[in-house]
């Protein structure tokens, strides 16, 4: 497998290059996080600081069948957070140019 122009040979390289950077994490249960990445492991367990969580709550009361209803957004901040890897769907580093 020839490394691409970005020097990434396996998916975890992408995460390693994001250490001490702010990352975006998409989680199960309509949750998203941004935070500064300080640690991860092979299960995708993460430790983030200055984390902000966004929870999307779809309100079924106002929802019609075609649309998605009104989406309420709840946000909260956490200073230092361990995230269990089994809830992680996607991790995106800050765009490198």
């Amino acid at each position: 497998m020839d490394p691409s122009s970005t020097g990434i040979q396996e998916p975890f390289d992408l995460i390693r290059l994001s250490l001490s950077e702010r990352v975006f994490v998409k989680l199960r249960g309509d949750r998203e996080l941004t935070g500064i990445l300080h640690a991860y492991d092979g299960h995708m367990n993460l430790i983030l600081s200055d984390a902000e969580e966004t929870i999307m709550i779809v309100d079924p009361v106002d929802g019609n069948f075609e649309g998605q209803g009104t989406v309420k957004v709840a946000k909260r901040k956490m200073e230092m957070l361990f995230v269990r890897g089994d809830g992680v769907i996607l991790v995106s580093p800050p765009s490198r140019t």
Binding site: F12, R16, A39, G42, N45, L81, F82, V83, R84
Partner: protein, 96 residues
């Protein structure tokens, strides 16, 4: 193994464990194992009205797999040390 070590350094600190069923328990971290099962003492349930059955409970064992988050005391986490240890573990993984 890295995350396990981090939790071990945080024993006797107060942490808040948020479970996948939205129950949040704060307590003093007494022990942790390789599965990240957690034992907490002096626990407080954050939303007691929603979980009245937890009021009498003073300590508990939490199976690692039901954990969503653990809020850690930031002043007891050395982020530089974490990043170095993570890079070292990633390098070891690559060698295998």
């Amino acid at each position: 193994m890295l995350i396990f070590s981090v939790f071990k350094t945080l024993t006797d600190q107060r942490v808040t464990v948020e479970l996948k069923n939205d129950l949040s328990i704060s307590g003093v971290l007494k022990s942790v194992d390789q599965f990240l099962n957690i034992r907490l003492d002096s626990i407080k349930v954050l939303d007691e009205t929603r979980h009245p059955h937890m009021m009498a409970v003073k300590n508990c064992f939490i199976r690692g797999s039901v954990v969503r988050y653990v809020q850690l005391p930031a002043e007891h986490v050395d982020t530089q040390l974490l990043e170095d240890a993570t890079r070292r573990e990633a390098a070891n993984q690559a060698k295998r």
